[in-house]
């Protein structure tokens, strides 16, 4: 029986090659989009799956409130460790203090690599359940030990056995390799954990880290925990939330609330607003999930419309089968198996499309998705997907076709009444509503990106590079290096700063100044810079003066930005003093000598944060900022700079970043979404147009006789074209009416996430509507004009 159905289906497919191509092609495209999105969503959802204890690992987070604004983050103070170890350890199986992910230079013999890793406490390998390939799992016991990832070990040692060898870190510390662990794959939070060194070592590296031991206000560290067996995240959060508040009175005014942030949320739900978890990347998972579902729906609608439109051709068969003794159920089964065949076919092509486009997609989406050939679960899901799609696409046609009455059909009196086409029309409207909404959405995303991109950054980011200098090697070398770089002719100005120009690494509060309102809790970005900072960035001084090496007193001078003037409520800022709250502070008060223009250091979608640029006294800078000589090409400049750099730091790999490229990274997420949604929109429109194309050719065929008669009676080509196109244009116009308010509502909501955002203008919507109508006219016209130009004698003689 099934064979018989398949045979009929197959022969029908061959007989109507045009329809089959549109049906299968459209479905294949739709399924390919859904498959790719499915793989992407799966990849997103399986983030951190590498860690066997994913469900039991948490990071300790902290919310603090300044002036009524609650900010939440992973940074915690060092004394919290003892606070929790004394009395709360029954909540945890493991507790691990950790540094941030820092770059370090690793040397072995003549090899020198810059790698990133953490300083962590002894139980880290156990907590993360690292797969140890060589050496011992408990590799952090001795203070001078280091654990390396497999690829780092290979890069450093090649064929040699690394265990027991000594690696020089930052050309200062001799570290003995105790273990090699498997590389942590890309879609995991610790994928850049290329080495681990003992926490105890970290405490000896910098003075400030040692000093932080009892500083409750110094939130500069991380803490990871594994829950004890008998407890849950919520229970532990409830028991530890006030630990810091209770142990330290000074910071209690900020109401520090501790909580456990579980690993399964790290990647997808890491946004906090006023201390509450408000989602994160998960919204993109939803967004693309919905897009995938809609694209599939569009393709299924094509199938439904084309199958039911052609119903009259199949009606005879239905009549015969019924009179021969087929039940309606059997016919439904037959039509469903037919759609299964078509969908299966389309799925095959879709797989092929996915294979061809996966690399390109990975580049766009910055993923490393591989095709899961050997994953039986994937094939099971695929089978269900095919089944689901064939039901979605095939059930309406099956129900419709199998409902014909044999008498009507066989007598030839079956009429597809006035409303027979109504469901078809509704489906077309649905299709174009989705397409138009996609168009509008994509245009607005693109606009928002461009809007933020064109926002003035406040400094000149072109021709500016930064070189990371976060190592003891650079201490005290700034003046020398500046002289050397400038003399080489590759740079015309240079400065150093404690954080990169495109980020804020440090925030401070606890100042006093003349006229400070009572109880005001200031929150200021803090960057330590060398005196040439403003000059090297072309940052404008709006009031007062820049730092100068001429004045010895400038070592306690600061520049503040425009936003800081507003934030602190200063009317005449130059000459005012900022004093540290702490009375024992040995440092002299900070004198405001100038106001600089606001520059975007964090998100380009947000207002510029109020900030202080302080004179760098200690020489602890983290970055050199070099203004390249515009008379040379960038590559010449870089070669020269590298030469100078290597002559002074032969053991350190030369690394640099163009500041404008770093700044561009801030748009990466939005740009990816913009590009992907543009592609998906194009595909959605293509699929909808395929369906429209099929429907027009069907209508033209159905009305062939009518067209013939009209032409004989004197209708022009234009009349006929108009007659055929009008109906479809009406439908698309209705779609626009529905799509415009929906997309306005949705996109307006999306834009609310961005304080600095584009204003929704009416012409975007008008443009999208005109575009949709133009595409419709183009699609429909091809068939309409063909029909209008056909010879009426031919169509009439057929009768």
């Amino acid at each position: 029986m099934f064979k018989n159905y398949l045979k009929i289906a197959w022969r029908n497919l061959l007989k109507n090659k045009g329809y089959s191509a549109i049906n299968i092609g459209g479905l294949a495209l739709g399924m390919a989009v859904t498959l790719i999105i499915g793989l992407w969503v799966n990849d997103e959802l399986s983030y951190n799956d590498y860690f066997s204890k994913k469900d039991r690992i948490s990071q300790v987070f902290q919310s603090q409130t300044f002036n009524g604004n609650t900010s939440t983050g992973p940074a915690i103070p060092r004394p919290l460790e003892m606070g929790l170890r004394n009395g709360y350890m029954d909540n945890f199986k493991h507790l691990v203090m950790s540094s941030w992910n820092n770059p370090l230079y690793l040397n072995y013999k003549e090899k020198s690599l810059s790698k990133t890793g953490n300083f962590m406490q002894e139980e880290a390998p156990e907590l993360l359940d690292l797969k140890i390939l060589k050496g011992e799992k408990n590799g952090l016991r001795k203070i001078n030990s280091i654990m390396l990832s497999e690829s780092v070990a290979n890069a450093l040692f090649g064929d040699e056995d690394p265990i027991g060898k000594v690696v020089k870190a930052n050309s200062q510390y001799d570290m003995e390799v105790t273990a090699i662990y498997e590389d942590i794959p890309m879609n995991n939070s610790f994928h850049d954990l290329e080495f681990i060194m003992p926490w105890e070592k970290y405490l000896t590296v910098f003075e400030w880290i040692k000093n932080a031991e009892d500083q409750w206000g110094n939130n500069s560290f991380q803490m990871f925990v594994e829950l004890a067996d008998n407890t849950t995240t919520d229970q532990v959060t409830a028991s530890i939330k006030d630990v810091k508040k209770n142990l330290n009175k000074e910071t209690a005014e900020f109401n520090p609330q501790l909580f456990l942030f579980p690993m399964k949320d790290w990647y997808l739900r890491d946004s906090f607003e006023n201390g509450k978890q408000v989602g994160g990347r998960i919204k993109y998972v939803w967004l693309f999930g919905i897009i995938g579902a809609f694209v599939l729906l569009l393709a299924c609608i094509n199938f439904m419309n084309l199958s039911t439109a052609r119903s009259e051709k199949r009606a005879k068969e239905v009549g015969i089968r019924k009179s021969i003794g087929s039940h309606r159920n059997q016919l439904i089964y037959q039509f469903l198996s037919e759609s299964f065949l078509v969908v299966l076919f389309a799925f095959g092509i879709a797989l092929f499309i996915v294979l061809l486009s996966l690399d390109g997609f990975n580049d766009l989406a910055r993923k490393e998705i591989t095709f899961p050939w050997s994953n039986s679960f994937f094939w099971l899901i695929s089978f269900l997907f095919v089944l689901f799609t064939s039901l979605l696409a095939g059930s309406y046609p099956a129900l419709y076709l199998s409902s014909f009455k044999p008498v009507d059909v066989l007598k030839g009196t079956m009429t597809t009444g006035k409303y027979a086409g109504l469901p078809r029309k509704i489906l077309v409207v649905l299709q174009f509503t989705v397409s138009v909404a996609f168009i509008i959405g994509t245009v607005i995303v693109m606009q928002q990106i461009n809007y933020a991109k064109n926002r003035p950054v406040g400094y000149d980011k072109e021709g500016l590079i930064q070189i990371p200098t976060m190592s003891q090697d650079f201490q005290g070398k700034y003046d020398l290096m500046r002289r050397e770089f400038l003399e080489s002719g590759a740079a015309i100005e240079m400065s150093a700063s404690s954080s990169p120009t495109t980020q804020i690494w440090s925030n401070r509060s606890g100042f006093n100044w003349e006229g400070k309102p009572d109880g005001f809790q200031e929150d200021l970005a803090w960057t330590e810079v060398t005196p040439e900072y403003a000059k090297s960035l072309n940052l404008k001084i709006l009031d007062g003066r820049d730092f100068s090496r001429e004045f010895a007193t400038d070592s306690s001078a600061i520049l503040i930005n425009e936003s800081a003037v507003k934030h602190m409520g200063l009317t005449d800022p130059v000459g005012k003093y900022l004093r540290d709250d702490d009375t024992e502070d040995p440092n002299p008060p900070l004198k405001i000598i100038g106001v600089v223009q606001d520059m975007i250091a964090s998100s380009p979608y947000e207002p510029v944060k109020q900030g202080i640029y302080a004179y760098d006294k200690e020489g602890n800078v983290s970055f050199y900022n070099l203004r390249l000589n515009p008379d040379n090409s960038a590559s010449e400049n870089i070669t020269t700079i590298e030469g100078v750099f290597q002559s002074h730091f032969p053991d350190i790999p030369f690394q640099y970043d163009f500041v404008d490229a770093e700044y561009g990274e801030k748009f990466a997420a939005e740009e990816r979404i913009g590009t992907l949604s543009a592609i998906f929109t194009a595909l959605a429109i293509l699929i909808s147009c395929l369906g429209l194309f099929g429907l027009t050719s069907f209508v033209a065929e159905q009305r062939q006789k009518e067209i013939g008669v009209r032409k004989v009676l004197g209708a022009s080509v234009f009349n006929v074209w108009n007659m055929l196109s009008k109906d479809f244009l009406k439908l698309v116009a209705i779609s626009c009416f529905i799509a415009v308010p929906i997309s306005y509502y949705v996109m307006n909501g999306w834009l609310q996430d961005y304080p600095y955002r584009v204003i929704l203008e009416w012409w975007i919507f008008v443009l999208a509507v005109i575009g949709a109508l133009a595409i419709t006219i183009l699609t429909v016209s091809f068939q309409a004009i063909k029909a209008a130009n056909s010879n009426p004698i031919k169509s009439l003689r057929m009768e």
């Binding site: 009549g319 009179s323 003794g325």
Partner: protein, 220 residues
């Protein structure tokens, strides 16, 4: 008795008035009969045939088929009955264009759940009996009208029905082909198959043992 119609009425509403398609039809058919239904266009011949074949409903009256009261049965049971006992032959043959002769003959068997081997034997039997073995792999469009109708009859017979309903089976055929089909019917009737045919032609009607005349939905 094969079937019995008592006071069958069928009507449609047109402009608030009932237009009768069948009016008070009373008919008894015994097994082995060969009945011809005659009458002018629009007299209700095909409607009557469709009602007998259970393809069409009626509005009033009683219809029993092999002692089953059809007017009380659900669609599903009716389908089961006619599947089992009735074969249809149509004026325009109504073969499925996408299937070969062989597959067209096989189709009714598929709905009756015969095993593959059984089906093969039965189809081969029919092909043999109607001398169309050489045509078994051709599609309907490749056959003449007469040949298509022979396939149509063979398809109606393959499930061994008690009753053949034929709606102007020769209407689309030339006289030689028509003659051939009528001879075939006569031969089948001699073998015991009950036949009811609708026809315009006196000559074809004469093959029947009984003639029913209809006029405006009424038996005359």
């Amino acid at each position: 008795m094969l079937l019995q119609l008592n006071n069958i009425f069928k009507w449609v509403q047109q402009g608030g008035q009932r237009v009768f398609l069948l009016k008070d039809i009373n008919l008894q058919v015994e097994e082995g009969e060969f009945i011809s239904i005659m009458g002018p266009s629009g007299s209700g011949k095909s409607t009557l045939l469709n009602v007998i074949g259970m393809l069409d409903d009626f509005d009033e009256g009683e219809y029993s088929f092999l002692d089953d009261p059809i007017h009380q049965l659900k669609e599903k049971h009716r389908a089961k009955l006619y599947k089992e006992y009735i074969g249809f032959v149509f004026q325009s043959y109504h073969l499925i264009d996408e299937l070969t002769v062989y597959e067209n003959l096989e189709m009714p068997l598929l709905y009756k759940k015969h095993s593959g081997a059984e089906r093969k034997a039965m189809v081969a039997d029919m092909l043999d009996r109607f001398n169309i073995v050489g045509k078994k792999d051709l599609f309907p469009a490749q056959l003449s009208g007469g040949q298509q109708q022979i396939v149509g009859v063979a398809r109606a017979l393959i499930t061994k029905p008690k009753l053949i309903l034929a709606d102007e089976p020769t209407g689309n055929l030339n006289s030689t082909q028509g003659e051939e089909i009528m001879q075939l019917f006569k031969q089948l009737n001699d073998e015991g198959v009950t036949i009811i045919q609708v026809t315009h032609s006196e000559k074809n009607a004469a093959y029947g043992k009984r003639i029913i005349n209809l006029l405006d939905g009424r038996m005359v």
